[in-house]
């Protein structure tokens, strides 16, 4: 700690001002590729956005933590000066998920799944029908409920936060349940701690984010495979009321172990598909959206976008399946949202991000926000995909790479680490290793690089920095880091 702070700041400034890339006036920034359109929210509306839905009539519905649902006319106006806000419903209990189905708007409240309808056509809901209330609440603020969009069978998946961080004091707290179109509850997964969002990938498989805390070394994206145990045993007493719906209660995990050590012992335990390393990627993983726009949102079709509430960011996730389990990599994507990113909704005209920082601070300093992120049409130079191989990784890029820098192993820095899987809160990074990249092979089309690595670590996050890589045009990567969660090393 001998360097002075002023030196640090100066160097940051220096990067921004003088290190311009040839052909660019300045180093490209996220905003060059993805433009943020913030919405001016009328002073009388508190828009702590917990859920966002595009309605069949073209309006945008936004539900709030205070329990209101607003309809926004002309949501895609740019700049959004002509949008009009009308209250559709008020007085619900912390709505974290809304989804239009026919004439109905389904809303997941803390205590129940409800569907709302405007029967008299005055633009406000008058009928509030309880679809299912088989899960319960005790009065603990932590007992949130996040609802997914309907799946192919019309089920809405609900992830239910524990009572606090450690316990489950009411039925199905710490569980994922499915609510069928006729209002039945199907117990689906156990082991939930504190969700921040839930949505499907392009294949229709359901994922949720869970947050750093007991049994969660850091925040992560998890696959809600029906019947699986997601890692926090606090709610496992409720196997007693499931009538064997997802089989018997799994073995209790051993605290202070490692996820993949326990996953080998407990068949139901589904390891997190992607860890978001604490502080490096974020601190509170939240909403999820999948790019199914067929290219309208840029080059990342099929990938997932995940919010982070503390850092007011959206991260990007590439997933693949290895040994029948999802795993993959996360990458920084876009910072600068107005408040703490919570709810995400992908549309053909951009990604809506709703924010709040009530109770949990955020970098974005507004108390609440709604932003739309639109692709400018320019393709950023990014790692496109990162796939695990038996002896390394394969990286693909959004632009052709400069062969010289990409083939140079010195352009890459790799370290690995794991997290302690334990009953106490969170975990530091542990079991650090530094595998050797023995070779970097650039494909003929210059769109991918094959890294051969000595010392891949099963069960570790592989943190890769691509400091020296340039595109064929001499651009640096917009984001140089990737974090691959290598739960399983593929056999071939």
């Amino acid at each position: 700690m001998t360097r002075t702070i002023s030196a640090v700041i100066l160097s940051v400034v220096a990067v921004a001002s003088t290190n311009a890339v040839p052909g660019f006036a300045q180093t490209p920034t996220e905003a060059d590729y993805y433009r943020l359109i913030p919405y001016d929210i009328p002073a009388y509306i508190n828009l702590e956005a917990g859920g966002i839905e595009l309605m069949p009539d073209g309006k945008l519905a936004v539900s709030t933590r205070r329990g209101d649902i607003y309809m926004i006319d002309e949501p895609f106006a740019d700049p959004p000066t002509s949008v009009r806000w009308t209250p559709f419903a008020k007085g619900l209990h912390e709505v974290l998920g809304i989804h239009a189905v026919g004439d109905w708007l389904y809303a997941t409240q803390r205590c129940e799944l409800t569907r709302l309808k405007d029967e008299d056509g005055d633009g406000k809901a008058d009928l509030f029908e309880t679809v299912n209330d088989d899960w319960e609440i005790t009065g603990d603020y932590h007992e949130y409920a996040f609802g997914s969009p309907p799946d192919a069978e019309g089920n809405i998946w609900v992830v239910l936060c524990l009572t606090g961080s450690f316990n489950s004091n009411a039925p199905y707290r710490g569980w994922c349940v499915r609510i069928t179109p006729d209002g039945k509850l199907l117990p689906t997964c156990s082991g939930i701690r504190s969700p921040g969002g839930i949505a499907m990938n392009a294949a229709g498989d359901v994922f949720y984010t869970d947050n750093q805390g007991p049994w969660n070394g850091t925040c992560s994206l998890k696959h809600l495979k029906p019947g699986s145990f997601q890692g926090h045993p606090g709610g496992n007493n409720w196997y007693d009321i499931t009538d064997g719906a997802i089989g018997p209660r799994p073995t209790e995990p051993q605290s202070e172990s490692r996820m993949m050590v326990e996953a080998k012992k407990i068949p139901e335990l589904e390891p997190p598909a992607v860890y978001f390393p604490y502080q490096k990627m974020g601190q509170s993983a939240s909403g999820i959206a999948c790019d199914t726009t067929g290219g309208k949102f840029g080059p990342f079709e099929g990938q997932l976008f995940v919010g982070d509430q503390t850092h007011s960011t959206v991260m990007r996730v590439f997933l693949e399946q290895v040994n029948g389990h999802y795993q993959g990599a996360c990458f920084p994507f876009r910072a600068g949202f107005g408040s703490g990113s919570l709810s995400l909704k992908m549309t053909d005209n951009g990604l809506f991000v709703g924010g709040t920082n009530r109770g949990w601070g955020s970098r974005g300093n507004k108390p609440y926000s709604l932003d739309r992120l639109v692709w400018t049409g320019k393709v950023p130079f990014e790692i496109h995909e990162m796939r695990a191989k038996p002896d390394g990784f394969e990286l693909t890029f959004t632009h052709e790479v400069d062969s010289k820098s990409a083939a140079d192993v010195a352009s890459y820095e790799l370290q690995t680490y794991a997290y302690i899987y334990q009953a106490s809160y969170g975990s530091p990074e542990v079991d650090h290793t530094k595998p050797t990249i023995t070779r970097a092979e650039v494909a003929a089309d210059k769109r991918s690089v094959r890294l051969f690595i000595d010392g891949l670590q099963e069960g570790h996050v592989h943190e890769l920095h691509l400091l020296g890589i340039q595109s064929r045009q001499g651009m640096p990567l917009l984001h140089q880091e990737a974090y691959y969660t290598l739960n399983y090393i593929p056999a071939s």
């Binding site: 700690m1 001998t2 360097r3 002075t4 702070i5 002023s6 640090v8 700041i9 940051v12 508190n46 205070r66 329990g67 008020k90 007085g91 619900l92 209990h93 409240q109 205590c111 129940e112 409800t114 029967e119 406000k124 809901a125 008058d126 009928l127 509030f128 029908e129 309880t130 209330d133 319960e136 609440i137 005790t138 009065g139 603020y141 932590h142 606090g164 961080s165 450690f166 750093q212 805390g213 604490y278 502080q279 601190q283 503390t310 850092h311 920082n357 009530r358 109770g359 949990w360 601070g361 955020s362 970098r363 974005g364 300093n365 108390p367 106490s424 809160y425 969170g426 975990s427 530091p428």
Partner: protein
């Protein structure tokens, strides 16, 4: 080199407390235990001949007290001074002293006190021990006193949370016992509750060396911990007491009150019930031997009064912190009746009763209390024999007790007459190391210990020039000797042992380890201001209110050298070099904005003075600039992870980026500097915006409004409805009932809409009518069947939602079995305190029998002439259908039989309250 941490899990399974009867036969020491020095057990137990370990033991065993050493050697050793024995008789039982002197290691396994009689004949040992016991007992007379149950319970909690178990073993059943724990003797054989309480309030008074630090316990807390540690002590109770509960601001008229409970006690211990809003009257008898005037002192928090033989002697009434008064009364020799009255409003509670008179110095009145079986007990009590005490006094000097222990008689310290080889003449074998020679103190060192001490003696005596310890070595040896490492980690050294980890707790589980594990000391010299460190050493610290473990006082005379050493080792963070010509007031205004809700909302997680944060309750912002070095603060804010890996503290200026570019020209360092400047005003700073909570009042104007949340009295699934008429309801969607009706203002949503929203919010208005728990509808097998107590869900009822109708008033929809219910409440008028009409529409596809609606339940229901019923004499209900009043389960119920068919049945009722 920092010592390695060996197997931190090693556990002594069957250590602790060989029950020692008070009259231990003086069998020669066959003990298998060895002196326990926690730092040695933790870091060196597996070592052999480690010099640093030897130096540690030389200090902790007090070797240099007898073996005088040159300054260069003495400077390397942190010598632990033995306890001061000036008034040991006041706190330690003579019977314990007798057993302990005869065989310290057997009486207190793990003790660092050597056996001085291991090589003398049994007869001689018995004689000398007896003389020393009488001498030590002559230094004061132990005040007897036992524990009271509520204090034991609170003491158990305190003992296991405030930090005692960082060094001592936890004492709950089944607790893990660790080999690194500082041993305790069988406590009941050593102490009484008053004696141990006095010791715990300030251990540094008799143990200057600071190994047992001052825990900043107040009188009540010290008494509670003492009560817990002495929970099995049985003491003759000489006082009877009556205990009362109520709210008073002065002593009540006890004759008009009925006690909540009665009990007996050995002392004026007021911790017999709850902690606030109570009163106690003690009654007992005491004896004086001579005729004369006696002065009685009474001191209390809050009020108290003392009566002798029915005469008021002294009163200290009212609510106040501990304060005392005195009064005089002439007494004849003999036994007198005593009454002491006491009451406690809130806060601390304490009561002290003392007296003085002819030939009696001021002392606790408990000394003079007499019990019914007193004559018999008197013979059991230890009586000091002056001849033996005089002989013991000589022995104290001659056999060398005085080499280690300070003991003053009449203000004069006894000098040791025992000589030992100077340290420089020690040869590192035999003598105390083996403990076998004639007249040699026997420490019962194990092999690792004796080889370490021998290695250190060799090195210290053979080195031609003895190097001074480096500052880092000095830090290491101090942190180990004082067992700072039990709580704190510095670099690779120490930190909470895994076997104790779960004992460190917090009231903010969401803060994770940061909330419960004391902060690490890596780079602490770069971080904390020297003045602050000194204050922490001298006064302890409670800057982390969420953390149960408290930083105790070690005394800067003991550990103050750490301040300079930290300063030498930990580099000063380079000056941030910020200069700005911005007006100081403007700078502070910018800092205030950054701290508040319009900036980075630091106050969401950090407490501000006495104001709670809205999220977690992290360290107080008001003392930050007194605690921290300015340059460290600047660099910390840029990258908290660099200093506290894993901290939840976010980086507000990630990699120096500025997220609020319009403030202070968007310069990160100037912004950070402005925060520092703002905070430097401490508690005098204008509070940041967003601190505290303003009410958020929900009001229905033209239409009804709904508030679904945790409402006090209506459950977690309450649906509050505010009507423009200012008559409101809270519907309980769990039990399908109206839970509350009230008038006036509807709700204050701030509890739930500011911060995370914990807790239940009561209605904001007035005249709240709480309707009884339980479902409103039931299917009864007979008209006599009692009303079900199961929940609606258990009975298979279903909440189906609501429909908003005219003026957006909700009609609640629910199913009672096959019966569909529509339930609407409409206030009758806009008059103040209006009545309200509830309409229930019931329908079913098939007729259902035996359905009952319970319109009211209470202790009394009376019908009036005009169709109203008065419930509990306080509210009224009117029905338009046939009804019946019945008694069931100790209550009166107003029931309506309902014949439900496909034609809707309607029940209308009016509430007036």
């Amino acid at each position: 080199m920092p010592p390695r941490c060996p197997d931190a899990f090693s556990i002594i399974v069957a250590m602790l407390i060989v029950a020692c009867t008070l009259a231990v036969p003086f069998a020669s020491g066959q003990s298998t235990s060895h002196p326990i020095v926690p730092g040695f057990e933790r870091f060196y137990a597996q070592s052999s001949g480690d010099v640093a370990a030897g130096e540690l033991l030389i200090g902790e065993l007090g070797c240099l007290s007898c073996h005088r050493a040159e300054a260069a050697i003495a400077a390397r050793v942190l010598s632990k001074q033995a306890p001061i024995l000036d008034h040991v008789g006041l706190r330690v039982r003579p019977e314990f002293l007798r057993a302990y002197l005869a065989d310290p290691q057997k009486t207190k396994p793990g003790t660092t006190m050597p056996n001085l009689f291991s090589s003398v004949s049994e007869a001689e040992r018995t004689e000398q021990v007896e003389a020393l016991t009488h001498f030590l007992a002559s230094t004061g007379s132990l005040l007897e006193g036992g524990p009271v149950t509520p204090a034991i319970r609170r003491g158990e909690q305190l003992f296991h949370t405030v930090g005692c178990v960082a060094c001592h073993n936890p004492r709950r059943e089944g607790s893990t016992q660790l080999s690194t724990s500082v041993p305790l003797p069988e406590m009941e054989s050593k102490y009484s509750v008053p004696g141990l309480t006095e010791f715990l309030k300030n251990p540094l008074a008799v143990r200057l060396a600071g190994r047992m630090p001052h825990m900043n316990l107040d009188d009540t807390q010290a008494r509670e911990i003492a009560s817990y540690l002495l929970r099995n002590l049985e003491v003759a109770s000489k006082l009877e007491y009556a205990y009362y509960e109520g709210n008073w601001d002065k002593l009540p008229d006890f004759d008009s009150l009925t006690p909540t409970s009665y009990g007996v006690s050995a002392s004026f211990d007021v911790n017999v019930g709850r902690e606030n809003s109570f009163a106690i009257v003690f009654r007992g008898r005491f004896r004086v031997e001579q005729e004369g005037n006696y002065v009685f002192h009474i001191g209390s928090d809050d009020g108290s009064r003392l009566k002798v033989d029915g005469h008021e002697v002294v009163t200290v009434d009212g609510i106040h912190p501990f304060s005392s008064g005195k009064g005089k009364i002439a007494l004849q020799p003999g036994i007198h009746e005593l009454e002491v009255q006491y009451f406690e409003g809130g806060g601390e509670q304490e009561l002290k009763v003392e007296f003085q008179g002819k030939g009696i110095d001021r002392r606790a009145l408990e000394y003079a209390l007499v019990g019914s079986d007193d004559e018999q007990k008197a013979t059991d009590r230890f009586q000091v024999d002056p001849t033996l005490a005089a002989k013991g006094k000589q022995l104290f000097s001659s056999i060398g007790c005085a080499s280690c222990h300070q003991l003053r008689v009449d203000g004069k310290q006894l000098a040791s007459e025992r000589t030992a080889k100077p340290f420089a003449a020690l040869v590192a074998r035999g003598g105390c190391l083996s403990g076998t020679g004639a007249g040699v103190p026997r420490f019962h060192l194990n092999d690792a210990q004796s080889s370490s001490v021998a290695a250190a003696i060799k090195l210290l005596n053979n080195a031609t020039t003895l190097p001074e310890k480096t500052p880092e070595q000095a830090i290491t040896s101090t942190l180990i000797a004082f067992n700072c490492v039990a709580c704190h980690q510095r670099g690779e050294l120490g930190g909470v042992e895994s076997g104790r980890n779960a004992l460190f707790q917090s009231d903010q589980p969401e803060m994770g380890d940061e909330g419960r594990i004391p902060p690490h000391l890596t780079g602490v010299g770069s971080k904390l201001q020297p003045e602050w460190l000194k204050q922490v050493f001298d006064k302890g610290a409670k800057d982390r209110p969420y953390m149960f473990t408290q930083m105790p006082r070690f005394g800067s005379q003991n550990v103050g050298h750490l301040i300079a050493a930290f300063g030498q080792v930990d580099p000063e963070v380079a000056d941030h070099g910020i200069t700005t010509d911005i007006d100081e007031r403007h700078l502070k205004a910018a800092g205030r904005k950054l701290v508040g809700s319009e900036g980075f909302s630091c106050i969401k997680c950090h407490t501000w003075g006495n104001e709670k944060a809205t999220g977690i309750q992290s360290i107080n912002m008001v003392t930050m600039t007194r605690r921290l070095k300015e340059n460290w603060f600047h660099e910390y804010l840029l990258n908290p992870q660099q200093y506290r890996p894993g901290t939840r503290m976010p980086a507000a200026w990630p990699q120096g980026q500025v997220l609020l570019p319009t403030l202070l020209d968007g310069k990160a360092m100037t912004q950070i500097h402005s925060v520092w400047e703002f905070l430097s005003d401490g508690a005098k700073a204008t509070a940041p915006v967003g601190l505290g909570t303003d009410p958020i009042i929900l009001t229905a104007f033209d239409e009804a409004i709904i508030y679904r949340n945790f409402i006090e009295g209506a459950g977690p699934r309450a649906i509050g409805v505010g009507y423009p008429e200012k008559a409101n309801q809270a519907f309980d969607a769990n039990d399908l009932r109206i839970a509350l009706l009230w008038h006036g203002a509807f709700m204050d949503a701030s509890k739930h809409w500011i911060g995370r929203g914990p807790g239940f919010q009561p209605p904001l208005g007035d005249n709240i009518l709480k309707l009884p728990l339980g479902v409103s509808f039931a299917i009864l097998s007979s008209p006599e069947a009692s009303w079900p107590t199961a929940t609606a869900k258990e009975l298979g009822y279903e909440f189906r939602g609501y429909r908003l109708g005219e003026a957006r008033r909700p009609t609640f929809l629910y199913d009672v079995g096959k019966v569909r219910v529509e339930d609407t409440l409409v206030p009758d008028s806009k008059e103040p305190f209006t009545s309200a009409t509830r309409t229930l529409k019931l329908a079913t596809a098939l007729p259902v029998e035996n359905v009952w609606y319970r319109a009211a339940v209470g202790n009394s229901i009376e019908a009036t002439d005009d169709d109203w019923y008065i419930v509990d004499g306080s509210w009224r209900i009117r029905l338009d259908v046939e009804s019946t009043i019945r008694k069931s389960a100790g209550k009166v119920e107003l029931l309506i039989p309902v014949r439900v068919t496909s034609e809707a049945t309607v029940i209308t009722q009016q509430y007036a309250w």
